[in-house]
């Protein structure tokens, strides 16, 4: 076995299809199969574009034994712009055939050799294989807090997955939804936790990000220990006007203080949300002192749309406070941030800097499940 890491080229597509076939035979779910096109479906490389993805494969003569994706994006880190790369969808034949148990380590070591400043995000919880592997390799890990706010309590109590895991909880949730006690309880808590909006707050729906977004980016980035570039060009690539994203510009008085990108998604038999209509605050930007205004505006937009529940992940302390002030509850998060040794050294001490880092669902592989 002599495995080499190679960029994914068109001639390797049949080998990737065969690789995915072996994964499927081993019971691996389709979301963990490798893309069957060498051209990224999202963020493909283009002239002048500073945010793009590249696919790499572990090739063993005519066979593909694994692969990974690198997403390149400039990051404002400790006051300067640096390339920090997102490592995702590492998949190895080792998960279905122990003869290839070494491939997972090979993939990760190869990615690190190419890009020492790596991070991973999401991953489904600390107990999953990838975070365990990263932890063993000395990466620094933390959970990005998860928040939710219930807007239609009766529907949420009847549908939401985690609340309905056990028979006792399921019965209680049904009873609360049926009798209206759940509705009353959640409305009361929301009322008590929500603070009034700042005076002069206004939000405007936008179709694309203009020059004002560059100005806002330059004013805001210094406030964060680490934040991926959110300038006009990047935002117009990430959130094209013709797609499903709802984008708003938030002002207080006559000054632009921030923006938010939200999604309003009707779920269908989703394992967490059942058939709820889920609003998500995907991405946003403001200086920390204006985080509350942005969260309140995004929340109001989603509530006006008629969603049942609103969810968000935010890492920075000011944004967590803003979500709490807007009536959101914090729950256990399976959205994990992992920094390679080189990146963690720049962020040292990681235990302190982790809540000064700006991460949300706009980072990593974006709002893929929302």
């Amino acid at each position: 076995m002599a495995i080499a890491i190679r960029p994914y080229t068109e001639d390797l597509i049949p080998a990737v299809k065969a690789f995915n076939g072996r994964l499927a035979c081993g019971g691996v779910a389709p979301e963990f199969h490798f893309p069957e096109s060498n051209i990224p479906y999202w963020l493909r490389k283009a002239d002048g574009r500073r945010i793009y993805q590249e696919y790499y494969l572990a090739v063993d003569s005519d066979f593909v034994r694994g692969g990974f994706i690198l997403k390149y994006q400039d990051v404002f880190l400790n006051g300067e712009m640096r390339p920090v790369v997102y490592y995702h969808l590492p998949v190895s034949e080792g998960i279905v055939n122990k003869a290839y148990a070494s491939v997972g380590v090979h993939l990760l070591r190869s990615a690190l050799r190419m890009q020492p400043m790596l991070f991973a995000l999401g991953m489904g919880g600390f107990d999953r294989p990838l975070p365990q592997m990263l932890k063993a390799m000395g990466w620094s890990l933390c959970a990005v807090p998860f928040y939710f706010k219930v807007h239609h309590p009766a529907r949420v109590l009847g549908e939401i997955g985690p609340l309905r895991q056990g028979a006792g909880w399921r019965g209680l949730a049904d009873l609360a939804a049926y009798t209206g006690t759940g509705w009353l309880g959640i409305k009361l808590v929301n009322f008590m936790r929500s603070r009034s909006a700042p005076r002069g707050l206004s939000a405007e729906r936008i179709n694309g990000f203009g020059l004002w977004a560059d100005d806002l980016w330059r004013r805001c980035r210094e406030h964060y220990r680490m934040i991926a570039v959110r300038d006009r060009d990047t935002l117009n690539v990430l959130y094209p006007a013709d797609e499903k994203f709802l984008c708003i510009k938030i002002s207080v008085g006559s000054g632009v203080v921030g923006w938010a990108v939200v999604l309003d998604t009707q779920m269908h038999n989703n394992k967490y949300f059942g058939n709820l209509r889920v609003g998500s605050i995907v991405d946003c930007l403001a200086a920390p002192e204006n985080a509350a205004a942005v969260i309140q505006a995004a929340t109001r937009l989603l509530e006006d749309c008629g969603v049942d529940v609103i969810v968000s992940n935010e890492s920075h302390a000011a944004w967590c406070d803003a979500l709490g002030s807007a009536g959101f509850f914090r729950a256990q998060s399976n959205y994990i941030f992992a920094a390679s040794k080189s990146l963690a050294e720049v962020l040292a001490p990681f235990g302190t800097s982790r809540d000064q880092i700006f991460l949300n669902r706009g980072d990593g592989d974006g709002p893929v499940n929302l």
Binding site: A2, I95, K98, S102, R109, S110
Partner: protein, 82 residues
């Protein structure tokens, strides 16, 4: 195979793979040791790097799928370093 290097490898492998030392032979591999999965492979690599003060290249890691091969990779690496 009963060199001092093999004995050290055997001890570390038994410890990491959570099997008794006499279950580890030169022929022990990912295919016949039940606990030798991806995560244990990583732990083996890290344990050998720490014990012998070396760093394996990704290509070397691929070769290390049996005790015999681990000994060979280590012997080559240690001779190269000395």
């Amino acid at each position: 195979m009963n060199s001092p290097l093999f004995e050290r490898v055997r001890g570390i492998a038994a410890d990491v793979l959570q099997v008794s030392g006499n279950e580890i032979t030169a022929q022990s591999s990912t295919e016949n040791v039940e606990t030798w999965d991806s995560l244990h492979h990583l732990n083996l690599v890290l344990a050998f790097e720490q014990e012998f003060g070396v760093q394996f290249e990704p290509e070397e890691i691929d070769q290390m799928n049996s005790v015999q091969r681990i000994v060979a990779v280590l012997a080559h690496k240690l001779n190269h370093h000395s």
